[in-house]
């Protein structure tokens, strides 16, 4: 079994995770991600008698709260937390017209 992922494999998961990776980081992650993934892979061998799944320890029926108007956050404060903003708008680079 290889002790590292291929460069392409690392770049693929980095793309999924929306994280840019430098050439120098790439080599480190080839080894480290492989170590974690080998550990994660062991889940396949665990035997269970039941297909029953537990998403969280949560037994109460899901109940939504009443749909009533309540307090809301101040939009000015919310927008104010954005790293780039102008008036009531959050600024982002041009999206329309870009090639996908």
């Amino acid at each position: 079994m290889d002790d590292r992922l291929s460069k392409e494999e690392v770049l693929h998961v980095a793309e999924l995770a929306r994280i840019a990776i430098s050439e120098s980081e790439l080599e480190k992650y080839q080894i480290q991600l492989k170590q974690i993934m080998d550990s994660v892979d062991k889940i396949k061998e665990v035997e269970v008698n039941d297909e029953k799944m537990l998403i969280a320890n949560w037994s109460e029926p899901t109940k939504l709260r009443e749909d009533t108007a309540g307090e809301m956050l101040n939009p000015k404060e919310v927008i104010g937390n954005a790293p780039r903003h102008s008036g009531n708008y959050i600024e982002v680079p041009v999206v329309i017209g870009e090639e996908s």
Partner: protein, 482 residues
Amino acid sequence: MKYLNKSVLELHELLKDKKIKPIDLVEEAFANIEENKELNAYITLNKEEAIKQAKELENKEVDNVLFGMPIAIKDNIVTKDLLTTCASHMLENFTPIYDATVIEKIKSKNMIIIGKTNMDEFAMGSTSRTSYFGSPLNPWNKERISGGSSGGSAVTIAARDLPFALGSDTGGSIRQPSSYCGIVGMKPTYGRVSRYGLIAFASSMDQIGPMTKNVYENALLLNAIVGKDNKDLTSANKEAEDFTRLIGKDIKDMKIAVPKYFMSDIVSNEVKLKIEETINLLKNAGAVVDYVDMKYLDQAVTLYQVIALGEASSNLARFDGIRYGFSAENPENIKDVYFKTRQEGFGTEVKRRIMVGAHILSGENAKVYYDKAMSVRAAMRDEFKRIYKDYDLIIGPTATTTAYAQTESLDDPLKSFLDDVLVNPANMAGLPGLNVPVGFDNSNMPIGMHIIGNDFDEARMYQLASYIEKELNLDLTPGGEK
């Protein structure tokens, strides 16, 4: 005059009798923190606001036992107008615009927030060394780690800076540093405490809990933070109860199980010996203690990795460089905003975990890994429930060793998971877990016992922990009582 070495009940009496004022406690807490500055327990201090609040309290009636008490908050719990960084470059300058539900609750008791404590970045780690702001140091020996991820909270309590702290626990992050630093730490039952305003790591396991120097004060703080919250639909609809009510009660005939795996050769001899001594103490008190077989505990690390990393990759998708937090300079396009912001904003441990999580959840892998993990998780919880048919509580060591050296390498990506092998089953099963100190190793580093309770059985855990605390009567102040 020093007051904070007194018990909270004594302080409460002094406050009620107007012999001291909240400002005395607040000033003393800041003086202690200043004296212990090199421990690096804090990321942000709330000095101005805390002093202002303490002065305002002078004209108010001392109406509850937590009134005027200083408290430290882990820096992944949002506090209105007070920097909340998650120990990450990503949130280095993030000032929340609302309070977490637990913060509203402690403020309603007129507790005073002293500062925000150091931690592993986004609570990912077992040593607090992944913090963007440097590691906290263990007050018992500054060359050793504090444990993590709630390392700063554990350190400030152990160093006796102040009486109360909040931590969070996704896979052991309250209990393991509590063990390494010799304090009491409780991870409540999943749903017991609202997660609203706790910056999410793995939503199906995250819980906020109290960290204190003794059992009674831990229960007092838990009393204040529990309850149903409409802002967290996984918070449980439970009647209010007094978690101190069984403290001091006899433990005769209590039935306790010790899973054999918890005492297997993954645990160091010194730790094992101390736990065995404590077990004998319980037997002598008339408790029934049996060693039991439990399946799936040896799969805990693998299972935890699938659940925690999968959920983390989804939760941390919100850090996009657009809505709040750090954003990379001069992006060429929208993709650049995401990719560069996350490259520069997150540290190595966080990036590793997000990438593996993204892999686990992508396409067919979601079935192979995540669905399978949910089945193993159900089976693990069934195992716990099987034990609780015959036993009241489950015990074992909290950590396999005592706190190790700061210099130990951070490059092994599996080490931080292995450190939590004994504590993360409780998170996956949603059960409450508590650390209580039971002694020291040959280097005078604290050893902790882990008590796992049935769902919502925290009061009984405190009962057992208080018995152990009283019988052992350890001096848990680093360097001896002052």
